[in-house]
């Protein structure tokens, strides 16, 4: 079995150790004997048409503008990959760009890809950033609890076509008001959680792996791994946020 992972714009959107998500997916696939190909896509590159999973991290405003331009150039390719069942995980800045619109702190508007029915608005540099440890309950029952660290100025609101990825137990989530965190639709997932999210949320990592493999290999039962250290980091991160997980 094989898997093709694509890291989109790692040179621009890799502000918070988000490359750890790639490392986690690659390692967890390889430990199960799945051969993994990784493609790093930079600004000038075309998107590989046959990828199974795309990762998009977070960046500063300046870099986000550069990426937004690139995404518009290659947006059609990403949309058709998704239509063919490819999985997308986008974190923070990348999540914002998957929505319809991102209004930056200075009022400038960046049109997003519209792969998720969400809109993000930055209330301005004077507004409080939403920063801190997060513990949330994933709306995907096979995933369970999610832990991570959020740090964003933008407030994201979900439209009818997007479902929240999680309900916040501790932290702000999408906007600090409605208790939602992240969004998903079909095979596209957006989240504000750094940490990075996948290493210490191994059940979410495996959920995405299985979904990505299904595209070309049909339903796959992933063999369980020794996740004691992953679980220890998961529980410790929750405890740091004041939540005791069983």
């Amino acid at each position: 079995m094989d898997l093709h992972l694509v890291h989109l714009y790692p040179d621009l959107l890799n502000l918070y150790g988000d490359r750890g998500n790639l490392v986690a997916l690659r390692e967890r696939a390889q430990r199960r004997g799945i051969s993994v190909r990784v493609t790093q896509v930079r600004l000038i590159d075309r998107l590989p048409p046959d990828a199974d999973l795309f990762l998009l991290g977070g960046g500063e405003d300046r870099q986000q503008v550069l990426v937004a331009q690139a995404l518009h150039r290659w947006g059609e390719a990403l949309r058709s990959a998704v239509a063919r069942g490819a999985v997308v995980l986008a974190v923070c800045g990348g999540y914002q760009l998957l929505g319809h619109l991102y209004r930056a702190a200075d009022g400038r508007e960046l049109a997003g890809l519209g792969l998720l029915d969400v809109v993000t608005e930055h209330p301005g540099h004077g507004a409080r950033r939403l920063v801190g440890n997060v513990v949330a309950t994933c709306t995907l029952p096979e995933v369970g609890s999610l832990v991570g660290f959020e740090n964003h100025g933008g407030r994201t609101r979900l439209g009818a076509q997007a479902r929240p990825l999680a309900r916040v137990r501790v932290g702000y989530g999408n906007n600090g008001e409605d208790g939602t965190e992240g969004a998903w639709a079909g095979t596209v997932f957006g989240t504000y959680l750094h940490g990075p999210i996948l290493p210490k949320n191994p059940r979410f990592a495996d959920f995405l792996l299985a979904l990505a493999l299904r595209r070309r290999h049909g339903p796959v039962a992933l063999q369980p791994l020794d996740d004691r250290w992953e679980q220890a980091a998961h529980v410790a991160a929750a405890a740091r946020a004041g939540v005791r997980l069983g």
Binding site: Y16, L66, A236, A237
Partner: protein
């Protein structure tokens, strides 16, 4: 003379005295808080009594650069007020001045050398009225607090615009710092000229690769440290300014120091330092550039540089319980990568990684994933992992391919230190790599054991 100024200074001194008497610590911050509470503009009034003020700011290298510079001034016969314990927010600056002033608010020294937190610089620059501003570098660090590097850079840019008579000594090898420095009226650039000291590729965690003027990717001929190197923009032509103070030849001797030949204005200067690693070449360059602006002689710079030993947590070696400890502070990906690059060639047999996530460390430990722990692969070593975020660190090691059976997780630092010592073969060095507050805790533990002096006596 202002009664409130006198009151503020007297109260600050009393708080410091009481704090030490009660064993609460060195009083490097609280006296400043009290003094500011009594008389908010106390910093401006005290600093006005200094004839020359130098501020040192940037992500990495502040403490060591300021120490070097203070030693240079002292050697040159101008001892300086200096926040040497590293308290670099406004209260820490005030505290250092309060303790060095008489009750009428007159500093007992003519010069001041202050390391200043990079986000704090804009709020204290007007009060300090520095003659020289040293800008070391900008790396991603504590993103939960600073939000974005761009905003720190913007704050610096505005600050430099308000200080037309200050000379700005800046790191020409850091493209973001070099770009910011163009806002200054008077500039002196420093940098490493010797390409043999560098590498050819940018490491993963480099923050800046796209031109500040036109957005096109920089081309690097050589990289010394993260994104610091010889760069140029192939589109608009903006490139690294040729520095006036430059390291023409660099010979790094691992953890035991380096030799460097400087072009220093019109002079050549051969320096020898006991400070470890290439990153300290930058600190010596920064201090030497500032020294030139202050009119110090080459002999003074040479003598002072050779006399400075590593500070606690910055490569200092000490004996404890039958082993040698070397403690190297790790604060951010750029610094951690440099420390690993320094330690790995020594073929260490035992390491202690202590990761806290308090405010001063950065509450978000995601940055550990930007550190290249893959460098450790193949070492015959045991790693003890400790701190509030020990589990995160252990997980990072696992995903870097480090074997679980060569890792011990012990959250409590006292017990971890003992375990790490037990894992150190006789005659070998135990390398301790703590984050900032873990470093302070380590120091308290070692001070209780009689191995080091408390930090305020450093």
């Amino acid at each position: 003379m202002s009664l409130r100024l006198t009151g503020a200074v007297a109260a600050g001194k009393a708080v410091a005295y009481a704090s030490r008497l009660l064993g609460l610590g060195g009083g490097t911050v609280l006296p400043g808080r009290v003094a500011r509470w009594i008389f908010p503009p106390v910093l401006e009034h005290l600093a006005a009594g200094l004839e020359q003020v130098v501020v040192v700011s940037g992500t990495n290298g502040k403490t060591t650069t300021a120490r070097l510079l203070a030693r240079m001034l002292e050697t040159g016969g101008v001892p300086a007020v200096h926040n040497r314990a590293g308290a670099n927010l406004q209260a820490g600056l005030v505290a250092s001045l309060v303790l060095a002033s008489d009750v009428r608010g007159r500093p007992c020294r003519r010069a001041g050398v202050f390391e200043v937190d990079e986000a704090t610089l804009p709020t204290v620059a007007d009060a300090l009225r520095p003659r020289v501003v040293v800008l070391t570098n900008l790396f991603r660090d504590q993103l939960d607090r600073y939000a974005e590097l761009e905003r720190v850079a913007e704050g610096w840019r505005r600050t430099l615009g308000r200080l037309p008579s200050a000379v700005v000594c800046y790191n020409a090898d850091d493209p973001q710092v070099a770009d910011v420095a163009q806002a200054a009226g008077r500039r002196v650039a420093f940098g490493i000229q010797d390409p043999s000291a560098g590498r050819s590729a940018l490491e993963e965690a480099a923050d800046v690769r796209y031109c500040y003027r036109c957005g096109v990717a920089y081309r690097y001929e050589v990289v010394f440290l993260s994104h610091a190197g010889h760069y140029g923009c192939p589109s608009c032509g903006w490139s690294r300014p040729v520095p006036e103070v430059r390291a023409e030849r660099v010979t790094v001797r691992g953890t035991s120091g380096f030799e460097v030949e400087l072009a220093w204005g019109g002079e050549r200067l051969a320096l020898r330092s006991r400070l470890p690693g290439l990153y300290n070449v930058y600190n010596v360059l920064a201090a030497a550039a500032a020294a030139r602006c202050l009119g110090l002689s080459g002999d003074v710079v040479r003598q002072a540089t050779e006399s400075v030993a590593p500070a606690f947590g910055r490569g200092e070696r000490l004996a404890w319980g039958g082993v040698t400890l070397q403690i190297l502070l790790v604060k951010n990906p750029a610094g951690f990568n440099e420390v690993l690059r320094l330690v790995v060639p020594e073929r260490p047999r035992a390491l202690l990684l202590a990761i806290h996530d308090r405010t001063a460390d950065g509450r978000d430990v995601s940055w550990l994933w930007d550190v290249e722990f893959e460098q450790l692969r193949g070492l015959d070593a045991h790693i003890t992992v400790s701190g509030i975020r020990a589990e995160d660190m252990a997980l990072r090691l696992k995903y870097a391919g480090w074997p679980e059976d060569k890792t011990t997780v012990e959250k409590d630092l006292v017990r971890a230190l003992r375990r790490a010592r037990e894992s150190t073969p006789p005659g070998e060095v135990l390398f301790c790599l703590p984050t900032y507050t873990a470093m302070l805790e380590l120091r308290r533990i070692l001070a209780r054991a009689g191995a080091v002096a408390p930090f305020w006596e450093d």
